[in-house]
Symmetry: C2
Amino acid sequence: MFEVTRTLYDCLVQCASEYREGVPPKEFTSVWAREPRGQREQGLSRDQIVRAAMEILDAEGLEALSMRKLGARLGAGATSLYWHVATKDELLELAMDQAWGEIQLDPEKSWRETASDYSYGLRGTMLHHLWLGSLLGGMPSIGPQALRASATLLNAFQRGGFEGMEIDFAVNSVISYTLGATLPEIAWRTMVFRSGSTEEEQVEAMTPIIEAATAHTPELRERHREYMSGSYDPAVARNLAFDYGLVALLDGLAARLLQPDRPGSRTAQSSAVTPAESTAAQPT
Amino acid sequence: MFEVTRTLYDCLVQCASEYREGVPPKEFTSVWAREPRGQREQGLSRDQIVRAAMEILDAEGLEALSMRKLGARLGAGATSLYWHVATKDELLELAMDQAWGEIQLDPEKSWRETASDYSYGLRGTMLHHLWLGSLLGGMPSIGPQALRASATLLNAFQRGGFEGMEIDFAVNSVISYTLGATLPEIAWRTMVFRSGSTEEEQVEAMTPIIEAATAHTPELRERHREYMSGSYDPAVARNLAFDYGLVALLDGLAARLLQPDRPGSRTAQSSAVTPAESTAAQPT
DNA sequence: GAGTGACCTCGAACACTGTACGAGACCCCC
DNA sequence: GGGGGTCTCGTACAGTGTTCGAGGTCACTC
């Protein structure tokens, strides 16, 4: 594993110098760096704008949101918005954080329950706001609501017995899995959404493409056929798949928690390819 | 868990009807649905265009790619490209799949090794092509290269002893974790990239924002300070975090593989909040 | 050699986009 | 009444993806 890690690290360093050919440097900015402008209580407000933006985003998708359309919805000129919001990207940052705020956690629960709540909460929010999919990979979530949720999760893990860097690692893995598991669903649902048809129609429309694409990978084609013939409800199947991976991950974390030799657990005793010694993988 | 799942399912159904206010239906299309056009061997070619597009994407980022710029780079008019590629989205689909092709897997290895290779491979590719981050959440990866890699992974899991739907579930969880773990890194690196400064400068520029944002979550602030004072190399720390979660997940999957009662494993015996019976979480 | 039709290029134009700028309107306080 | 901050917005600019149709270049047939 160390070798692979080394390679990756080199890649990162190399990327840093390789990129940026003729791109003009754009100073780092974020809504959270600057405080909101308005004081007066009339006319437009930031909250109002963000709310309206989310309505458009939810109803028509990310690329349907334009400043002109948003202004029109609010009965205002497009450029009026720029008094309350510096750029469109900042507006999206605000909308993102608003969505993060929908995740509600109980700070009293166990680490495992909290992880589960967080995971299902994030997934639900993402599926409710499909536009989050394209945004999460482009701009970091550093808004107060996102941080609040992560802090609660982090606290639960700390109380649960994780220590040092392991807290961050474990928390990160839960967030990562949730994000990654939901993303392809979002991509799929976005496609269905844009097509204007139902999921069933879309599946039907996709079948010839899948058949053609899997012409040279018979095992995949086989699995797809089996999958289709089972007449599963796709939404239910996705939920099962999501839960399966989440359980596996949490089990793995729980196992780590019970390892006898965890000094600072700075150095990983096991690698990705060799199973950890004291898990159920090797019966005692 | 069933209750939560139920809620999610309802949400999905509800979304399907709630969305789509005034969006014009756009027939489903994909590059993979239509076969390429050109036959003659002169002038532009699809490969050439995709390659040039990826050069721009790598060097200047997703939003720097415009058809006019791409045309100019190839010494052609912008609209000439439309003979070889139906839309810009299709071009991006092609570029995405080209990136997927960079993942090389050995079909002889064990399921755990293959999972590790896949995971590190995907992560490396994503970090090499930052623009993938914004794309993976928007359009599904159903190109031949993406399918090829997934098929290899799937085969390895099947050989490794996974059965029925569990194969899909396990494979999905590995892909999901990798995707989700890399996405925030991409978001961060994209931000650094756009700012034009080094990672260290960016971290320094971010500090006051983090301090301000974590004003009401002292535990997070504490952790951030500890993290900063440790003077870790951020890239190394990220690699450790990535490996930690991957190991935990693979351990969890391995544990599932050894469970004695796995009939068709259609129904999950354990839920996200209650640890599975036969893992190390509950010592026998 | 003329003709035909497929392959390929591209300039002009259209309907958009995000946003800078500056003129003006409103309101409160001196 | 007169500032001065708060807020709106029409105009304009430089760009975007994409359509359309006119033209050019081949390989082939008669």
